[in-house]
């Protein structure tokens, strides 16, 4: 029970981000356009004496593209990405498929990765380019002649038109250090503006990632302000007054910091903003509403489900499953409209018509209705059932929503209050009671926003969702014990005393895709996974070891005093380290206290049995306890448990 991924299917149904109003498919396509000029290719030495690496802006950009490509395979497996190098000596467009079109040629545009869901080979090729291998040097050669930006933009236009038609989100990421490519030619400049307008009308958003040169600050007003528009028309969900973020810090400095700031800024825009619900009324009081949009900023990322692969062809192919529903009695295929929902009851089915079923689920139109306010302290730490939704005002239904939302936001922040709301996020969604909490804006060291300002709607559990706390015998600890533990805790604060999610990639998710990548690219499967969630044991020992020992001794002393020899104790509290086992002289003080109670030396007993080859003689409860204590599974027959115990010791040797 208590599966941590419970009811994933049901949740998915509720949580999918959909666009209900558009004919467009909810997909995203990103095309990187990376300027390959000699200044972009000039390595910038890093000042860090320890790691004397040189990174050129172009290679930083390619690494970012590679990084994003890998990341999106995990997070957005159906979205497209492509890489267009421009200003190269070579030119490459759709040539291999024989469909060469003579009237369209794009000199000095090298489409390195075609816009598509990336394949394993493309990932590999881009990595080779990023690693600056031999082959790559041939491609990364700037042309003598200046490339026409109009051509670059129209080339991108054609790529989007043919490869990502009807996508809800299409974005062109331009990475360049040239802020005035056509300073000398007015006509080329005008042509660029026209082609930029074409892209705008096609619904393509241009995101510029400017890089300053060591001697020159990038100035968008010289060229790019004529190229970039406010939000694209297809991005109807963006708040009307949302300013385009051209004020993003330009990347500059030496190689590594350039790479990092570029990564940070690209990462922050890697996901197109998709809403969870749009223009839902936020009702502050009877007859007083404003409109808000909802977004999912936090959601557990699961690995994609396994699928079936057909191996009968030249290359493995994903087989698409098609589900047909048929009547059990006749085997005839049934229409969706004939299907009725029924509940099992008393050995039979109790049915409702579709209309009744809908009526039962209908608790009114989508709404976030404030029913009152409370101090934040009233929200218990345990009162949670799932991730929150983030809401931000929208002026689309009610003019003035933004200022009212802002006033409420400031009031809740100032007074540390929450709003209790009745929350129906979308049509036919199950209503719930939720706590609406104001969240402050957070920015990282590069000035890139990490957490946006807005409100968080935290669904609360119902009385039905609360579980009873099981009773157990409690023993009040003496002050000295608590103080000893406080000393331990004080030594082991995380940096800045905060939890930073960015520092903890999901180890099993990363491992899953790492293995898939190795299999897909026919590489050796790596041996050890990188797992940042494993505690820094050496540091813990070094920093807090002495305090832990003090606390541990006190626990033993107190326990002895409080419970005497009758203490119900099954397992040791403090473990022996390897030194003990090696029989080092100079017993650590802990050794004495550990030998107290009878069954306390479970580990030693089991180990001795192992050494004598007599694990099989141990009883089931001892085997189970030992395995549990070491995090091993305890299911199965005795022989399985014995195997597992033996394996445990064998691994250690």
């Amino acid at each position: 029970m208590a599966d941590d991924n419970y009811a994933r299917d049901e949740e998915d149904f509720d949580e999918e981000e959909v666009d209900e109003t558009s004919y467009r498919s909810v997909k995203d396509a990103i095309l990187f356009a990376i300027d390959i000029s000699s200044s972009m290719l000039t390595p910038r030495p890093s000042n860090d004496a320890k790691k004397p690496t040189e990174v050129s802006p172009a290679s930083a950009a390619i690494r970012c593209a590679y990084h994003l490509m890998q990341q999106r395979i995990i997070s957005n497996p159906h979205d497209m990405i492509g890489v267009l190098l421009y200003g190269t000596e070579s030119s490459k467009f759709y040539d291999e498929d024989g469909k060469s079109r003579d009237d369209l040629s794009y000199p000095h545009c090298h489409l390195f990765t075609d816009l598509d869901v990336p394949s394993a080979d493309e990932v590999k090729a881009l990595r080779a380019l990023a690693d600056d291998e031999e082959e790559a040097r041939k491609i990364l050669k700037p042309s003598e002649e200046r490339v026409s930006m109009a051509n670059v933009l129209f080339c991108a236009n054609q790529i989007f038109t043919s490869k990502a038609p009807n996508f809800l989100s299409r974005r062109l990421f331009i990475v360049t250090d040239e802020d005035n490519p056509h300073a000398e030619s007015k006509s080329l400049r005008s042509a660029s503006c026209v082609r930029a307008k074409d892209l705008y009308d096609l619904g393509v958003t241009i995101n510029l990632f400017p890089i300053s040169r060591p001697d020159h600050e990038f100035d968008t007003s010289r060229f790019y302000d004529d190229i970039i528009y406010k939000t694209a028309p297809s991005d109807g969900e963006a708040p009307a007054y949302l300013q385009p973020d051209t004020n993003t810090a330009t990347a500059k400095g030496d190689g590594i910091s350039l790479l990092n700031s570029l990564l940070s800024s690209i990462n922050s825009r890697s996901v197109p903003r998709r809403s969870l619900f749009t223009n839902v009324p936020l009702e502050l009081g009877p007859d007083f509403r404003i409109s808000v949009n909802g977004y999912l900023l936090l959601k557990k990322q699961e690995p994609a489900r396994s699928c079936y692969v057909w191996l009968g062809g030249e290359t493995p192919q994903i087989a698409k499953g098609i589900t047909t529903q048929s009547a059990d009695d006749t085997g005839h295929v049934v229409e969706k409209s004939d299907i009725r929902k029924a509940y099992k009851f008393g050995g039979e089915q109790v049915t409702f018509t579709t209309e009744e079923q809908q009526a039962l689920r209908n608790f009114g139109d989508p709404i976030i209705r404030i029913i009152g306010f409370k101090p934040l302290s009233a929200l218990p730490i345990w009162a949670n059932v799932k991730h929150p939704s983030f809401i931000y005002p929208s002026e689309e239904d009610y003019i003035g929503s933004a200022r009212v939302f802002s006033a409420l936001h400031q009031k809740l922040l100032k007074d540390q209050k929450l709003a209790l709301v009745w929350f129906i996020p979308r049509k036919n969604a199950t209503p719930c009671l939720a706590a609406m909490v104001a969240g402050e804006e957070r920015v990282d060291e590069n000035g890139v926003q990490k957490v946006p300002p807005g409100m968080w709607v935290i669904p609360l559990p119902f009385a039905d969702d609360l579980r009873q706390n099981p009773e157990y015998a409690r023993h009040a600890p003496a002050d000295e014990l608590v103080d000893a533990m406080r000393n331990v805790i004080g030594q082991l604060e995380l940096p800045k005393k905060v939890y930073d999610a960015q520092k903890y990639p999901n180890p099993s998710l990363q491992w899953h895709y790492r293995i898939l990548q190795a299999l897909a690219l026919d590489e050796d499967v790596p041996e050890t996974p990188e797992d940042k969630t494993i505690p820094k044991f050496r540091q813990i020992d070094k920093r807090a070891g002495d305090y832990v020992m003090t606390w541990s001794e006190l626990v033993d002393e107190n326990a002895k005093r409080m419970f005497g020899g009758t203490a119900a104790t099954k397992s040791t509290l403090v473990k022996r380290g390897p030194k003990d086992q090696a029989g080092d002289s100079g017993d650590p003080p802990s050794k004495r206290v550990k030998l107290e109670s009878g069954t306390a030396n479970l580990d030693d007993d089991v180990k001795r049995s192992f050494e004598r080859g007599a694990v099989a003689k141990l009883t089931m409860p001892i085997l189970k306890e030992f395995l549990t204590a070491h995090g091993r599974a305890t299911a199965g027959k005795k022989a399985d448990l014995v195997d597992r115990v033996e394996q445990f010791f064998e691994e250690k040797i």
Binding site: V117, P303, A327, T330, G347, S406, P470, G545
Partner: protein, 710 residues
């Protein structure tokens, strides 16, 4: 495991139960049955075989019980024996429970019959035994020998519950005026009887009112993890320490029962089996789900071929590359882990953002019956609490499960101590969508503005402050601490569906009932609160000056300003200088179409542009290899539709779509294009109806009809 149960309902079905009293629309029996049916169906819905129920009719016309040889036990009949109640039993009971033609039959004797039945059924086994008597107290009652019966009830551990229609209950506030003396005497007798054997006695009105309060199913706590809370690595360092702990859910979403899919039994099957049983409603048959598999094959008709399930291997997608995994390597992508709860470090409580909780919560308590563990964990909890810290830990609940990063928060509450555990997001779980600040506006040039129509002025801020203060809720716990009304809020969907199913089982022909008010208690603010804050709200409304956008102007306007780049450059002027853009190029159709419209000075230009785009779309269909161009066609059609709605020329679109439909269906555009038509239906880009554009003469029904016809 829930305990075995044996419950007997004694229902008074005497003639007098068929009467309506005190202005009620239902008879006493119908009223009583509201209670009994609710109880019985609640038991049925558990589906437990060990929940045994029996129904006895008191004051029935017939006599059929195990003690019927004694005269005092006449007019008592067993309607159903102790056992699990299933749907056929419910139907039988429903038909059998009717007011009788007699008023004879002794309630106390019925209790004796019930005791006998329970004893025979349960013998000396462990059971939860219960007898419920529902009556209007007007029949004959013989209290002789009641001490002995009471002693038996107590001795056998039977719980007795007596409910009566219009029984006086000063506590609940029911007092029947002009009560019949005989009834008053009976009420007295029953009350004394119930009280004498530790039973309950109450008035029916109260019992029925309580049915509206949703009942919460208690779940026995089951540990979801047993293991060690560890600090340090005991394999490597002697300073490592571990405390044996157990983990239990604190919150866990109770889900409504799930429905399965059925279809009505086909006529053919019914005929084969002869005359089907005329049971309630239509006979249903289960829906079977079959899966077939296809792969792309450009050489095949339709571009796809079926493949056998047996020829398929398990695999995953890596981008668009299919990676298959042989059976031996089945778990190759799984990260090997061992169960653990390892402390990573500690963070400041004040610096934790509560919205980072992304899961349900659990509690961590010491291993049970381990005093030393209890003492050790308690010192840890208190230390966290006093230092105002939370712990961050790595948790694996079972061998080879995925590790989670969890927050451990100390909880010391009314004598109960534990750690509250909740999952924290990984870096992949955080999406960085960016939003502008709410308390200032930053302009393109980087200037910071604090006075703007999107920011509240001081008046609005003050009005908001006052309103928020006036809407403070006063929920407090016993100690006067602020709390949220979680205990009084019930899952509306869960209880609504459960009660609807129970009601439908007994009353198959009645419409579903309205949702009880208790379920939506928090759907609206408290009336008193609203009244008290009304003046502040009025003030807020006037200061906020919020205006609803009329539905029609939501789209873009006809005379819109052309969009300009950030610099404000007039690109239109540049476009006009481009001579070649007189005709729309198929390669750049959408931008050029939009630009042609925006520069159009007369209706002819618009017509011309539309005509050109339509030709391009048709040729895209004609030249499409399979479905290759369909997405482009959709984009073209969608753009055409949107623009013509904006330019208030819906007829141009509708005419084109009608002709396109007929061309598709008559296969004039390069063969079978039905898949395209299906795509078009799904994408909601049918005819522009009057609701979308008031210039359209197409009604909503017409538009719907157009799409559904094929």
């Amino acid at each position: 495991m829930a305990q075995k149960e044996a419950t007997i309902y004694i229902i008074d079905v005497g003639r007098s139960m068929g009467e309506r009293r005190h202005g009620r629309s239902v008879t006493d029996l119908e009223w009583a049955m509201q209670y009994v049916w609710d109880k019985i169906t609640t038991t049925v819905s558990t589906g437990r075989k060990t929940a045994n129920v029996s129904v006895l009719a008191l004051r029935s016309d017939e006599t059929s019980n195990e003690l019927q040889e004694h005269a005092e036990n006449s007019n008592i009949s067993i309607l159903s024996k102790l056992g699990q109640v299933l749907m056929p039993d419910i139907r039988n009971l429903r038909d059998a429970i009717k007011p009788s033609n007699t008023n004879r039959g002794d309630a106390i004797s019925a209790i004796v019959v019930a005791i006998t039945m329970i004893n025979e059924f349960t013998r000396t086994l462990k059971y939860k035994r219960k007898i419920v008597l529902v009556t209007n107290g007007t029949g004959p009652m013989n209290g002789d020998g009641r001490e002995e019966i009471q002693k038996k009830i107590v001795g056998d551990g039977i719980e007795l519950c007596i409910l009566g229609a219009d029984f006086d209950d000063p506590e609940y506030g029911v007092k029947e005026e002009d009560k019949d003396r005989h009834k008053a005497k009976n009420e007295n007798l029953l009350r004394e009887f119930a009280e004498g054997c530790e039973g309950t006695y109450g008035t029916l009105e109260e019992a029925i009112a309580e049915l509206d309060t949703p009942r919460i199913k208690a779940v026995n706590p089951m540990p979801s993890f047993k293991g060690m809370l560890r600090l340090g690595d005991s394999q490597k360092y002697e300073t490592a320490v571990q405390i044996p702990v157990e983990r239990y859910p604190r919150t866990y979403v109770a889900r409504p029962p799930s429905a399965s899919s059925f279809v009505p039994v086909s006529k053919a099957t019914q005929d084969e089996e002869g005359d089907p049983k005329p049971s309630q409603g239509d006979a249903l048959t289960a829906v079977r789900v079959a899966r077939t598999y296809q792969v792309d094959d450009p050489s095949a008709v339709g571009g796809k071929v079926d493949v056998e399930r047996d020829d398929l291997a398990k695999g995953y997608e890596y981008g668009r590359t299919a990676v298959h995994i042989s059976q031996i390597d089945e778990n190759i992508t799984r990260l090997d882990t061992f169960a653990c709860l390892d402390l990573i470090g500690f963070i400041n409580q004040d610096k934790y953002d509560r919205y980072l909780h992304i899961s349900n919560t659990n509690i961590i308590i010491p291993e049970r019956a381990n005093d030393k563990a209890s003492l050790a964990l308690s010192s840890f909890i208190h230390a966290l609490h006093l230092s105002s810290f939370y712990a961050v830990a790595r948790m694996v609940t079972k061998e080879n499960r995925a590790p989670m990063v969890v927050l451990l928060a100390p909880s010391i509450n009314a004598g109960y101590e534990c750690l509250v555990e909740v999952q924290l997001p990984y870096s992949e779980d955080v999406r960085s969508y960016q939003f502008p600040p709410l308390d200032k506006i930053i302009t393109v040039s980087g200037k910071i503005i604090t006075e703007h129509r999107n920011l509240p002025n001081q008046d609005l801020q003050e009005a908001m402050d006052n309103y928020v203060d006036s809407m403070e809720l006063d929920h407090k716990d016993e100690l006067g601490n602020d709390v949220l009304p979680i205990d009084e809020s019930f899952s509306p969907l869960l209880h609504r569906i459960e009660s609807a199913v129970r009601y439908r089982a007994v009353h198959p022909d009645n419409p579903i009932l309205e949702s009880p008010e208790k379920l939506t208690k928090f759907a609206h603010p408290d009336e008193e609160l609203v009244k008290n804050s009304a003046s502040f709200l009025d003030d807020l409304i006037s200061k906020a000056d919020v205006k609803k956008v009329p539905p029609k102007t939501k789209g873009r306007k006809r005379q819109r300003e052309t969009e300009k780049p950030l610099s404000g450059l007039d690109v239109d002027a540049l476009l006009n200088q481009e001579p070649k853009r007189a005709n729309i190029s198929p390669d750049n159709a959408i931008p050029e179409f939009k630009q042609m419209l925006s520069r159009a000075e007369n209706i002819e230009t618009i017509h011309g542009a539309v005509k050109q785009l339509c030709t391009i779309i048709e040729s895209q269909i004609k030249n499409s290899l399979g479905d290759a161009n369909y997405d482009r066609v959709m984009e073209g059609l969608g753009t055409l539709r949107d623009e013509l709605v904006d330019y208030e020329e819906p007829a141009l679109y509708n005419d084109f779509l009608r002709s396109l439909k007929s061309k598709i269906l008559q296969e004039e555009l390069g063969g079978d294009r039905r898949e395209l038509w299906w795509l078009l239906r799904r994408s909601k880009i049918g005819l522009i109806d009057g609701k979308t554009s008031d210039r359209s003469e197409v009604s909503e029904e017409e538009a719907k009809e157009f799409l559904s016809a094929s």
